[in-house]
């Protein structure tokens, strides 16, 4: 395990919690899933379930190792001999471990998740700047035409490479914002955390928007039957 679960840091500058309340298994550093939270008590978050520190910048291998070592012991296949109740419990526990792992796999996911824990609503629509909006309109047109117009394909390819370049800039910006957030949390610095939070939010919004565009453009370019409208 990369680190023990010993972060007393606040989860959110708005509603700081001195200590996370979950009971932790000293061997895995992960939260004790057998314990039912009391009414009103928050459910353990994904980081706690995997026994990881609540940070955006985490080593991908550390996440894999944490998941693997927990799931080995919790998977329902291991409990078959102990009867249906044990299997049901294992099912519930292992699904939570899998859910946590699935939710923390990428840096974007972790950034979005810490923002959600901090009370952000990420479902609000992102409004792109005017220049990007122009490109989006061009792209939409090219996507529609890509199937039967070679010129549109060329244009779409150019737009795609431009979007990919913008995405690379955003990836770097996201890593930077993530580092500031993690540092602010570790230092229990609410002012720095607020700035980092705004940065994260902006970068994440743009990144999602561009990802969507890249996905649609690539699909239009690679689909062999792009000339036919999808049904």
């Amino acid at each position: 395990m990369a680190e023990q679960f010993d972060h007393p840091a606040a989860d959110s500058p708005d509603a700081p919690r001195a200590v996370r309340p979950w009971v932790v298994n000293p061997q895995t550093g992960a939260v004790d899933l057998d314990r039912q939270p009391l009414p009103g008590e928050p459910e353990p978050d994904h980081f706690a379930i995997l026994g990881l520190p609540q940070r955006i910048l985490l080593d991908a291998d550390a996440i894999e190792i944490a998941h693997r070592s927990l799931i080995r012991g919790l998977h329902p296949d291991r409990f078959h001999a102990q009867g249906p109740q044990a299997v049901a419990k294992a099912q519930s526990h292992s699904s939570r471990v899998n859910d946590a792992w699935r939710g923390l796999k990428t840096l974007e996911q972790r950034a979005a998740y810490v923002l959600t824990l901090a009370g952000e609503n990420l479902d609000e629509r992102y409004r792109p700047p005017a220049q990007l909006l122009m490109q989006v309109m061009e792209a939409n047109e090219a996507i529609d035409e890509a199937g039967n117009d070679p010129a549109a394909r060329v244009q779409l390819l150019e737009l795609l490479s431009d979007f990919q370049a913008q995405r690379a800039v955003l990836t770097a910006a996201l890593a930077q914002a993530a580092a500031s957030w993690d540092a602010a949390q570790a230092a229990v610095d609410p002012a720095a955390a607020l700035t980092a939070r705004a940065d994260l939010r902006a970068v994440l919004g743009q990144a999602r928007y561009i990802d969507n565009l890249i996905g649609r453009a690539s699909a239009a370019l690679s689909a062999p039957d792009a000339a036919y409208p999808a049904n």
Binding site: I71, H75, D77, A81, S92, S95, R96, N98, D99
Partner: protein, 643 residues
């Protein structure tokens, strides 16, 4: 105890319970088990390891045959013989009618039931009931081979099977008297069997083209853990489709030559059989010729070129490549990061398929696995993992399709994405929009498309809510996909923390009550099963007793018997051996009692011998000093002495 050592031989060994692995295929099925040496083996019958997934009924609607014999009945009684049941599992009546096309079966639906029934030989049976016939045959085969009852199994399904198809398979297992330990995806099972042998560390892709379904899975294997990264497929594409194309092409040629087969079920079946032979021959040769007998007594020759066959099936083979590319994208890997390509399923013997797979993944596929057996072997390994605890291996699979919920505008909102590791869960909170509303209707769907009409309806249910002012009541509904890929739904009142019960009715297939009722009905017919089980128990016991008696006869006690006593024992031995051959429990029990009576004095003499020996063996003497009165360990009249 000493007396028992001298007479009864070793203590009776309770045979460990064996759980089997079953590959329930569209065209062929297999059963495998893991022996004491840890190696998985396929159980072969007199007619080979593969059991055709074909069921034949007689004119009265009674089961006539399963497997090879039923396959033969396809030609003589196509109207009472049913095959490709797997394609009907968990499907709607509309889909089945659409899919069966040429087959002469009526499909029925009954009001108040989401289950589809197929009419065959005057009976209306659901696909799980039909599959249960095949499973029972495999169970019988395993029991005959292992000499013990088998009631636990791991059954494989195509990775791309949806919830309803998995549930239908599980129901079939229950109806066949099997506890289904786990539903495992076929490509995953193949990887498990392969991994057991080769212990690969790395990423492998399994391309599985069977009789009726296509799957592709990308897996990572490390330290005994087999983790599925992504899967994709088409449950409507396989070797059967190649057969159909070939049949259609040849039928059109025959039509032009003035020999119509249209509308004639028997001729069509004979043609289909010849075309399958042709297809198989074309995997080995550039040009193939087969003899066909569409009308008895009229032989004819059918010839085909491989290149023409390849042109015919190329679009279908091409269709398998899109799911491969999608799975690769979903896994986040590139072709260069893959270490091995495994081919599974009989249709991967077709050279064109091999070429296309090699082209796509840029690697020569492994040739050292048997594409027909590897899935059953893997299922047996998983059964062994789950029942013996002797292997530190774990299978971590994924759900092939996204799970979603209907929302306004007939749109599906995703709650668990495809390729999520299972078990997986998601919790959604529901509240009310008007005062005193008592429930919210939830429609669960599976699929990756945006609109309700393009996804597969799994179930609809009502979340009960206490009548309160709008927005005040809150109910959390948890959707859990278990390790079998089957959905479970639970609900909890958020304010009180109390569990709420909800009744989930499947959109397709049997409800739990329907399965229970079928099991109860089957119980009336279960005499045969029970007899078989009792016979196996009696046979085991008889074999142990026979062996022990023969050994005692060879010893000094045997030599001291009177000739007529010896004669009586020999007669009883022969009687018991004959009784075992009747395969009936009662005669075996009877013959066993006779042998018990006949060996009364032999047992006494053996005990005396043992006591005599003990006098000369100080170690044994102390043991005997603690032994009960020899009379109390005399054989009783139920043959239970060596338990």
């Amino acid at each position: 105890m000493a007396i028992q050592i001298s007479f009864g031989g070793e203590k009776r060994q309770e045979k460990p319970v064996v759980a089997v692995g079953i590959d329930l295929g569209t065209t062929n099925s297999l059963v495998a088990y893991v022996g004491p040496d840890g190696q998985p083996r396929v159980i072969a019958g007199e007619d080979g390891a593969m059991v055709p997934s074909v069921i034949a009924f007689d004119a009265d609607g009674q089961l006539a045959a399963v497997g090879h014999k039923a396959n033969a009945a396809l030609l003589t009684h196509p109207d009472r013989t049913i095959y490709s049941v797997k394609r009907m599992m968990g499907r709607s009546a509309h889909e089945i009618v659409h899919e069966l096309g040429l087959l002469p079966f009526q499909v029925h639906t009954a009001p108040g039931s989401a289950a589809v029934r197929i009419e065959v030989a005057g009976q209306k049976l659901t696909p799980p009931e039909l599959s249960a016939y095949v499973l029972r045959e495999l169970k019988r085969r395993a029991e005959a081979h292992l000499g013990q009852t088998v009631d636990k199994a791991v059954i494989t399904v195509p990775a791309y099977f949806n919830d309803a198809q998995r549930q239908a398979t599980k129901d079939a297992g229950r109806l066949a008297g099997l506890e289904v330990l786990r539903i495992v995806n076929e490509p995953t099972a193949a990887a498990l069997a392969y991994g057991l042998d080769k212990k690969p560390e790395g990423r492998i892709v399994v391309y599985d083209l069977g009789g009726g379904t296509f799957d592709v899975s990308i897996l990572a294997m490390h330290e005994g853990m087999t983790e599925v990264l992504a899967t994709g497929g088409d449950t409507h594409l396989g070797g059967d489709d190649f057969d159909r194309l070939l049949v259609e092409t040849v039928a059109a040629q025959l039509e032009r030559a003035g020999m119509s087969v249209n509308g004639d079920a028997e001729k069509l079946q004979r043609l289909r059989k010849a075309c399958i032979e042709l297809k198989i021959a074309l995997s080995a040769a550039e040009h193939a010729t087969v003899q066909a007998e569409l009308v008895v007594g009229q032989r004819m020759e059918l010839a085909f070129d491989r290149s023409d066959f390849e042109t015919l099936i190329a679009p279908l083979v091409e269709r398998t490549l899109a799911p491969c590319r999608q799975a690769l994208r979903d896994s986040g890997l590139t072709v260069a990061q893959l270490d091995e390509v495994l081919l599974v399923g009989g249709s991967t013997r077709i050279p064109l398929v091999r070429r296309k797979v090699q082209e796509l993944f840029g690697k020569v596929p492994r040739g050292d696995i048997d594409p027909d057996q590897v899935v059953a072997l893997g299922a047996a390994v998983q059964a062994d993992i789950m029942t013996t605890g002797r292997r530190d291996m774990l299978l971590l699979d994924v759900t092939p399709l996204s799970l979603g919920m209907e929302t306004v505008g007939d749109v599906v909102v995703k709650i668990i994405n495809r390729n999520s590791s299972i078990p997986a869960s998601a919790t959604e909170e529901f509240t009310t929009s008007v005062d005193n509303q008592t429930g919210v209707v939830v429609h669960v769907l599976q699929g990756d498309r945006e609109l309700v009409k393009d996804c597969r309806s799994l179930a609809k249910f009502v979340v009960p809510i206490e009548p309160l002012p709008a927005g005040l009541a809150r109910v959390a509904v948890t959707f859990l996909i278990d390790a079998n890929g089957i959905l479970h739904v639970t609900a909890k009142d958020v304010r009180t923390g109390r569990e709420k019960s909800i009744e989930v009715k499947p959109s397709y297939g049997l409800t739990d009550d329907e399965v229970l009722r079928m099991l109860e009905d089957a119980f009336d017919n279960a005499e045969g099963d029970l007899n078989n089980r009792m016979f196996l128990d009696a046979k085991n016991e008889a074999e142990l007793i026979l062996e022990a008696t023969k050994r005692a006869l060879l010893g000094p006690a045997g030599a001291r018997l009177e000739p007529e006593e010896r004669e009586e024992i020999d007669g009883a031995i022969a009687g018991l051996a004959a009784a075992v051959r009747t395969e009936q429990a009662e005669p075996v029990r009877k013959a066993q009692r006779r042998l018990n009576d006949a060996t009364w004095r032999l047992a006494e003499l053996s005990m005396a011998e043992a006591l005599n020996a003990a006098v000369h063996d100080p170690q044994l003497a102390t043991v005997l000093a603690q032994a009960p009165d020899p009379a109390s360990v005399k054989p009783d009249h139920h043959g239970n002495r060596i338990k």
